[in-house]
Amino acid sequence: MKLITAIIKPFKLDDVKDALKAIGVTGMTVTEVRGFGRQGGHTETYRGAEYKIDFVPKVSVETVVSDAQVDAVVDAIASAAHSEKIGDGKIWVVDVERLIRIRTGEEGDHAV
């Protein structure tokens, strides 16, 4: 099993969710986060005073999938979150040692 984490533009969240549901992903966790990468921050001006906003709002999407699903999920996120503009975000994949569904006690791929 793998944990796939994607940091995406907030307005792409619905597209990503729909793309993942379409390929059979059954659950995900979404967090509003702030950060910067190559895009850097942006500036805002209030009463003539310019402020550099370093941390821009992003959404973090996390989902645990079986090894067999990983490539499809990564591709689906990458294409759904793609806007061809700087700041589209990143996707990374890490191993998951154990996965338990709390209600039934099922483990591993059965709990995905």
Partner: protein, 403 residues
């Protein structure tokens, strides 16, 4: 003159309208501070409704409108004893109520300059002392028929000098004593909730109808003219600010629209019942553009006038008070005078400048001394940990927004 029920009704309604401006000001300012300080800001404003109202009834009304002194009244009307007659065509008690709401909002204006760093108990002492030693005397000078500025012939319909110059320069004095916010100039401090600020602007604009038109103390043509002038100056102020802002900074902002409207409202305040025709449009537009340009003053002085009380209230108040010397028209109000542009010569203009400068100097000096004394005795400012934690937690043990 006997009691007029129409006049009485209008002044009573105006008192309520002016009262509503203080929570409006709280929201206007509250949206502009960071979220950890928003309750501190709201509290400072609504607390003025508590403490100043009590002071006004106890001694404030008497010091401003009792006795026959030119500089200060006496205690003959303390606790409103003997204030049960008729003033003009309205019950004196209606005048007491209307003027009380002015006394409430004036010290609250200062809080914009000192945002995020005043210790609450010290703030309470500061505005109480300020009302007693600065506001009540200045209200006497300007609005009581015995007052020296009133007798000199300077005009101040609803408080350009008595309220906006007075509070604006006081804000400067307190900032000089209290210093800048931690992180001023190095950390970004953007407004945390501009929709709140816009709501506050709407409430201020609405209440200002009573503030200015109620100052006619009658439901008559002058009051109607004041309503129109007030509204048009706010409108033109918004446009003036936005044009200047867009030219200089590239965008017309919502905060700019709100600030420009308030600048226009401030400037028309002394003029509201004395000018007509295109004058409110000119006064408002000039105030909107100049107040925007005046934002640069604090940067040049390296002074943390956090929410621009100096640029909006002090500069706006001076613009209105001085322009009245040009645009006043007895054709609008025969109880006023003619300004330079209406055949009155420079006499009114000179009186207006004397009034503005006198209030400026008196308020600055006395406010500075009050702030310094409080700072030396109880400390005016929260300690740095409390400031970083935010006034909401450190002063009131509350949070505005639960996660």
């Amino acid at each position: 003159m006997g009691l007029d029920t129409g006049d009485t009704a209008w002044v009573l309604i105006s008192a309520a309208l002016v009262l509503f401006m203080t929570p409006g000001l709280a929201l206007f300012y509250g949206g502009m501070v960071r979220s950890k300080h928003v309750l501190g800001m709201l509290m400072q404003n609504i607390f003025a409704m508590g403490i100043i109202s009590v002071l006004w009834s106890a001694v404030g009304y008497s010091l401003a409108f009792g006795g026959s002194g030119r500089f200060i009244g006496d205690f003959s009307l303390a606790f409103l004893n003997g204030a049960d007659g008729i003033t003009g065509t309205i019950p004196t008690m209606a005048f007491v109520a209307f003027q009380m709401m002015f006394a409430v909002i004036t010290p609250a204006l200062i809080t914009g300059a000192t945002a995020d760093r005043l210790k609450f108990a010290s703030y309470a002492v500061l505005i109480a002392a300020w009302a007693l030693l600065v506001y009540f005397p200045v209200a006497r000078w300007v609005w009581n028929s015995n007052g020296w500025i009133f007798q000199m012939g300077a005009l101040d319909f609803a408080g350009g000098a008595a309220i906006h110059i007075n509070a604006g320069i006081a804000a400067l004095a307190v900032v000089l004593v209290i210093g800048n916010r931690i992180g001023h100039g190095s950390e970004p401090m953007p407004p945390h909730n501009l929709p709140t600020t816009i709501l506050g602007t709407g409430i201020l604009w609405f209440g200002w109808m009573g503030f200015n038109a109620g100052s006619a103390l009658a439901a008559n043509g002058v009051a109607a003219q004041a309503v129109v002038n007030t509204h048009l100056a706010a409108a033109a102020g918004m446009l003036g600010w936005l044009i200047a802002e867009r030219k200089q900074a590239g965008h017309a902002t919502t905060l700019g629209a709100a600030s420009g409207a308030v600048a226009g409202l401030v400037a028309i305040t002394p003029c509201a019942g004395f000018v007509g025709g295109a004058s409110p449009l000119i006064i408002g537009a000039v105030a909107g553009a100049l107040c925007y340009l005046a934002l640069g003053i604090k940067a040049r002085l390296k002074l943390d006038d956090s929410l621009d009380v100096i640029a909006v209230h002090l500069v706006g108040g001076i613009i209105g008070t001085v322009l009245l010397g040009l645009f006043a028209d007895t054709g609008v109000n025969d109880g006023g005078a003619d300004g330079l542009f209406y055949g009155g010569g420079v006499e009114l203009l000179v009186d207006q400048v004397i009034a503005a400068v006198s209030v400026l100097i008196y308020s600055f000096v006395v406010t500075y001394v009050i702030a310094k004394v409080i700072d030396r005795t109880m400390g005016l400012r929260v300690d740095s940990n409390d400031e970083r934690a935010g006034l909401d937690q450190s002063q009131h043990s509350e949070s505005a927004y639960q996660a």
